[in-house]
């Protein structure tokens, strides 16, 4: 009898152990309602602050009721500790070399005067935005939903600069490096490499953001703008553009910002995918900016739910809102004035008639018909990248 009891317990115990060890990894709503720091960083308002060195700043959700994110509320993410705190504009240049007919050393003045000036409104998002949606917790900063923003970028087409330099026949890869530096000489630089075929005319070298200088923390004086791409390749304080024929093996390309190279881009903590690929294009996503989590809303009052939606540049077709846990969906009104790479603003009027807990859910659908899934249906991945679950805000009707 005792022995049988013992076996029973041990079976239960081993099942429990197996259960935890073989956990599939789950996905849920990301963190919400983090407090703002009391300390403001240069050219910024107080933001959600994860680190001061390197600076890691997240925008509060309330920012995402508007299609353009203000410069002083735009998120910040650097990789290395040493960021130049002063740039002498008279001596600052972008060097273009490698497999080009002639090396260029472009000053800011030349960039502003010798080339066609262009503007593009584009959303920018960290690949790890909303990483806190994944359990087990993956490596990296546990961002809520504010590692994203949308600005009007002004600058010069990368292709115009490359044409001026003249690409050699065997040019195939382009490496981008900025001025951030590590503490140790041997630490790899944060260099990004892109294939020439990925770089269309919408890629610009930008010196202005929303009609102003870029804030230092967003890459003053110049950053690469890659509409539709996650921001890991939007190199800040851009200083070097190097054209090569072969892909150069680099830490930040080979090890960071990669996701499972399979159809679902998912894996489990116990069975990590053997092949990975860079994260590149942004998946369709929406974020509710208002109301805020746990807010009290008056019974029978007219609530206008507001938020933003975007994808990789195919453009947003619809944003649907549900007030019944996703059983039925209604179409939100869209405002799309800034082109297909920009945030689409959505709004949805609703009159709550029942007291108690109410959930607003937002689901964006792009022009390819790709729609957001519920958080639970998004596969876990080890880097905690590309979360784009249906957004949920819970309020109390009083």
């Amino acid at each position: 009898m005792q022995r049988r009891e013992f076996f029973k317990t041990s079976i239960v115990a081993s099942a429990a152990i197996l259960g935890t060890n073989l956990s599939a990894g789950t996905t849920h709503q990301p963190k919400i309602g983090q407090t703002l720091s009391k300390m403001a960083f240069p050219e910024k308002r107080p933001m959600i602050t994860y680190s001061d060195r390197p600076p890691l700043l997240e925008a509060p959700r309330s920012v995402f009721t508007r299609g353009i994110t203000e410069n002083d509320e735009f998120y910040v993410r650097w990789h290395l500790p040493d960021i130049p705190t002063y740039i002498d504009l008279d001596s600052y240049t972008i060097k273009i070399n490698g497999l080009v007919e002639k090396d260029l050393n472009i000053t800011l003045k030349e960039l502003k005067n010798d080339y066609e000036q262009v503007e593009v409104v584009a959303a920018m998002q960290c690949g790890g935005n909303s990483r806190s949606a994944f359990t087990p917790i993956t490596g990296g900063i546990q961002w809520g939903s504010g590692a994203m923003g949308c600005a009007k970028w002004k600058g010069v087409r990368l292709s115009d600069l490359l044409n001026k330099a003249g690409l050699k026949k065997n040019a195939h890869w382009i490496g981008f490096n900025g001025l951030e530096k590590a503490a140790y000489f041997k630490t790899p630089n944060f260099v990004r490499e892109l294939e020439l075929t990925e770089l269309d005319d919408h890629v610009i070298v930008a010196y202005q953001m929303n009609g102003e200088d870029l804030p230092y923390l967003n890459g003053f004086p110049i950053r690469l703008v890659l509409p539709g791409y996650y921001s890991d390749s939007w190199v800040k304080m851009l200083s070097d553009i190097t054209v090569t024929d072969k892909y150069k093996s680099l830490f930040f390309m080979d090890k960071a910002y990669r996701i499972a190279d399979n159809k679902t881009e998912g894996e489990t903590p116990d069975h990590l995918a053997s092949k990975t690929k860079p994260i590149t294009h942004m998946d369709v996503k929406s974020v509710i900016g208002y109301p805020e989590e746990n807010m009290k809303i008056y019974h029978n009052s007219e609530v206008v739910v507001r938020g933003v939606a975007f994808d990789d540049g195919h453009g947003i077709d619809k944003v649907m809102v549900s007030t019944d846990e996703g059983k039925t969906w209604d179409e939100a009104i869209l405002k799309q004035e800034n082109g297909r790479y920009a945030f689409t603003e959505f709004r949805f009027g609703y009159k709550p008639t029942k007291y108690g807990t109410l959930k607003f859910m937002a689901k964006a659908i792009n022009r390819l018909g790709v729609e957001q899934r519920f958080a639970k249906d998004i596969p876990w991945n080890r880097g905690g990248y590309k979360y784009n679950g249906i957004d949920v805000i819970t309020v109390e009707v009083v």
Binding site: V120, D201, L217
Partner: protein, 102 residues
């Protein structure tokens, strides 16, 4: 659909920069737990990044912290000795662990 808008207006060079003196990135005193190994952590980790970067990874298993420190040594070339690595990983797991080994 508007793609890229051509700017027709003449460029007027701005005479005044938004920031024309060196800026200062503030120091934030992140509240990190004191405990055995803290001095070694401070000596080895703070050179490159703040405590915020550590504590905002969330509670993690021992293997995670072990691999993180390995990454700092292998990829970021942090000169952390074998002895110090063990002290740092012990500290991280003890103070910022989730109780699981892996």
């Amino acid at each position: 659909m508007k793609k890229i808008i051509l700017i027709t207006a003449l460029m007027v060079g701005s005479l005044f920069a938004q920031v024309d003196k060196p800026m200062e990135v503030p120091y934030i005193p992140y509240k990190i737990k004191m405990g055995e190994g803290f001095d070694t952590l401070q000596a080895n980790c703070l050179m490159c990044h703040s405590f915020g970067y550590i504590i905002n990874q969330g509670p993690q298993p021992r293997l995670f912290w072990d691999k993180k420190v390995d990454k700092m040594i292998t990829h970021f070339k942090a000169p952390i000795t074998k002895e110090d690595k063990k002290i740092v990983v012990d500290y991280l797991f003890h103070n910022y662990g989730n109780g699981k080994l892996k």
